[in-house]
């Protein structure tokens, strides 16, 4: 971390998270949200992961008969998760949200909010999830001592889980029957055992030395795929017949245990990230016990965030973001009978009762796809945007500039509740340690003073827990509203027309040694300016 402390003049963004929550809170949770879910690589997100680490360790230490035992909570996924059908998003919302509340107990932090893994901005497993000298037995690392091998697991868990199974209600047993587990023996031998990662050393394919997502996952998390997933304007993908249409959700099936296919966000980034975190040797994430790997919940938190982004986009456009009236009687009553609440109580629900985000009291900061969703609307004339290519090198205290021409109406910045957000895409230099990436706005043709005291200084982006740029392009989301307003108040920026966006690197004193030893050229690729 750098030594600089953010002041109210500076918006320092870490690892792709933006701190401009206001318009999104207002829209997605009617201003009632008590907890803000942030990117797990942001400073705040990393702090939440400390709480999470503590909670995961405490939950592993609970007796296997305790429904809050970590494996027991993970087992809910094996018993009930929908994949490849239209209940995929809705089932996972309470599953993540109940855990968020449980973590507040075992992590002893009422302020805990589940951080999301914005794989588009951060296409790698963050350092926080690996054993390190600070956390040699890191409970967020499936190779740590918290994770049993098969033999010790079987001797400790078989009997308590059998006792739990015998206590299932008839309705629950009926669900397990639909799933292909008519009795406990079939559940244990065809459910638990084949999905169990027998050797803890194989728990996750990524390592601290090689944390990057690889193809096809690294392709599937890229922004154009996310945008394609957010583009649909109907809830349900319809396949077969002449009516085939792309929906946000996967196609309808007869019950939530049945897989029939996958829409873009489920099938592309969701499935491929799961599969990329395991390999031929094993791994939790490709299996139905994927939620044993704690990163599962950050992964699904991002999936839930994208659903919220889509919902907001749809409602802004005047649509319901719900199943049609014709579909609802088949969608809404689907029973979800295996959730466990924060008091350890069964928390059965239905699909229809699980749709809303508001009752859970959380909301999301904007991440990858947020600005795109507004852009998808803008092409329908709701919010103007502007895009410019830069493809220009930048370096330490050396800026690269893109010139945007703002369309008519984009000058609404400064109007009440309208924010302007720049998505700045750049290839970072090979070494990013100790560097900050500063974004400035200025009147067209004028070079801004590259200082955080400059009136056009809009904000910064830093990488956390990374020494190298991984060769990927990154997109930082920066709120430029205040900087634009300052320039307009000073009379230097006209209400419409052209505006320059400049990206430059700056460094702090302590890391100077690092700065000398590696080339500093990054490439400023492009910028998109959106109004919300």
């Amino acid at each position: 971390m750098t030594g600089a402390i953010p002041t109210n003049r500076r918006t320092v963004l870490k690892g792709g998270a933006a701190l401009l929550a206001v318009p999104f809170l207002a829209r997605s949770a009617a201003g009632q949200a008590s907890h803000l879910r942030v990117s797990m690589t942001s400073e705040e997100g990393i702090a939440h992961l400390q709480t999470y680490r503590k909670a995961v360790a405490a939950m592993w230490a609970l007796d296997p008969s305790d429904p809050h035992n970590w494996f027991r909570y993970a087992m809910i996924h094996l018993m009930d998760c929908p994949h490849g059908n239209w209940w995929f998003f809705v089932w996972h919302r309470p599953y993540v949200a109940h855990l968020e509340r449980i973590v507040r107990i075992y992590g002893e932090d009422e302020a805990f909010a589940m951080p999301y893994w914005d794989w588009t901005a951060d296409p790698f497993v963050a350092d926080t999830f690996f054993a390190s000298s600070t956390y040699p037995d890191n409970a967020l690392d499936p190779s740590s001592s918290h994770y049993p091998d098969w033999d010790s697991f079987e001797s400790a868990y078989h009997d308590p889980i059998e006792a739990f199974w015998n206590g299932l209600s008839d309705a629950q047993k009926q669900q397990e029957n639909l799933r292909g587990f008519p009795d406990f023996d079939s559940f244990w031998t065809t459910g638990v055992q084949p999905n169990f990662n027998a050797n803890p050393a194989d728990g996750r394919s990524k390592t601290a030395a090689a944390p990057d997502l690889t193809p096809p996952a690294s392709d599937a998390v890229m922004l154009p795929v996310i945008e394609a997933g957010l583009r649909p304007e109907i809830f349900t993908t319809v396949v077969g017949s002449g009516q085939a249409r792309t929906g946000f959700n996967s196609p309808e099936s007869q019950n939530h245990h049945q897989g029939v296919g996958a829409a873009i966000l489920e099938g592309q980034p969701h499935n491929k990230v799961h599969n990329d975190l395991g390999n031929a040797a094993g791994g939790w994430m490709p299996s139905l016990l994927s939620s044993v790997d704690p990163i599962f919940f950050m992964h699904h938190c991002n999936v839930d965030r994208l659903w919220d982004v889509w919902t907001t986009k749809e409602r802004t456009a005047g649509r319901t973001a719900l199943p049609t009236a014709e579909e609802a009687p088949r969608f809404d009553p689907e029973p979800f009978l295996f959730y466990i609440g924060d008091a350890g109580q069964p928390a059965p629900s239905t699909a229809g009762a699980s749709m809303d985000i508001a009752p859970w009291g959380y909301a999301y900061t904007p991440g990858s796809g947020s600005a795109s969703a507004a852009g998808l609307q803008s092409r329908r004339g709701i919010a103007p945007n502007a895009t410019a290519q830069a493809n220009e090198g930048f370096g330490l205290n050396e800026g690269a500039t893109a010139s945007l021409s703002l369309p008519e109406g984009a000058a609404a910045a400064g109007a009440e509740e309208t924010r302007q957000v720049a998505q700045v895409t750049f290839t970072p230099p090979r070494t990013v340690k100790g560097l900050r990436f500063d974004v400035f706005v200025s009147p067209a043709g004028e070079t801004p003073e590259l200082s955080e005291d400059s009136p056009g200084f809009a904000g910064s982006f830093e990488f956390f827990g990374m020494l190298h740029g991984h060769g990927h392009d990154f997109t930082a989301v920066i709120d430029v509203t205040d900087a634009v307003e300052r320039l307009r108040e000073a009379g230097t920026l006209p209400e419409s027309g052209a505006i320059d966006v400049t990206l430059a690197a700056s460094g702090t004193g302590r890391e100077d040694r690092t700065l000398e030893s590696a080339p500093l050229e990054g490439v400023f690729k492009s910028v998109v300016l959106e109004s919300f």
Partner: protein, 97 residues
């Protein structure tokens, strides 16, 4: 075979597959080897699930030439690969938005 008519929006392909091995990737490409996208199964398929599954694959605008394109599939599983069988790759069509 799919018929492409150029436009500015990305295409979405509906890819019909039979049962695929867990962890597999079904890669779609043209006979010339142009990679179009891929499908990776995840999650349970209950005993009652239909053998045929439909996966949506977005294809950026301009990836495919206008006109008729043949699409082939190969299957990659943990580093080894082979052509997909007729029971694994059932067909592909463009699906509307």
């Amino acid at each position: 075979m799919i018929d492409v008519v150029s436009g500015s929006d990305p295409l979405v392909l509906a890819v019909r597959t039979g049962p695929l091995p867990a962890g597999a990737e079904l890669v779609l490409e043209t006979p010339e080897g142009l990679r179009i996208g891929s499908v990776s199964p995840f999650g349970a398929t209950a005993a009652t699930s239909p053998a045929e599954q439909v996966h949506l694959v977005p294809v950026p605008a301009g990836t495919l030439p206008d006109g008729r394109t043949e699409i082939r599939a190969r299957l990659i599983l943990h580093g080894s690969e082979r052509a997909a069988t007729a029971r694994e790759f059932l067909g592909v069509a463009i699906i509307g938005n």
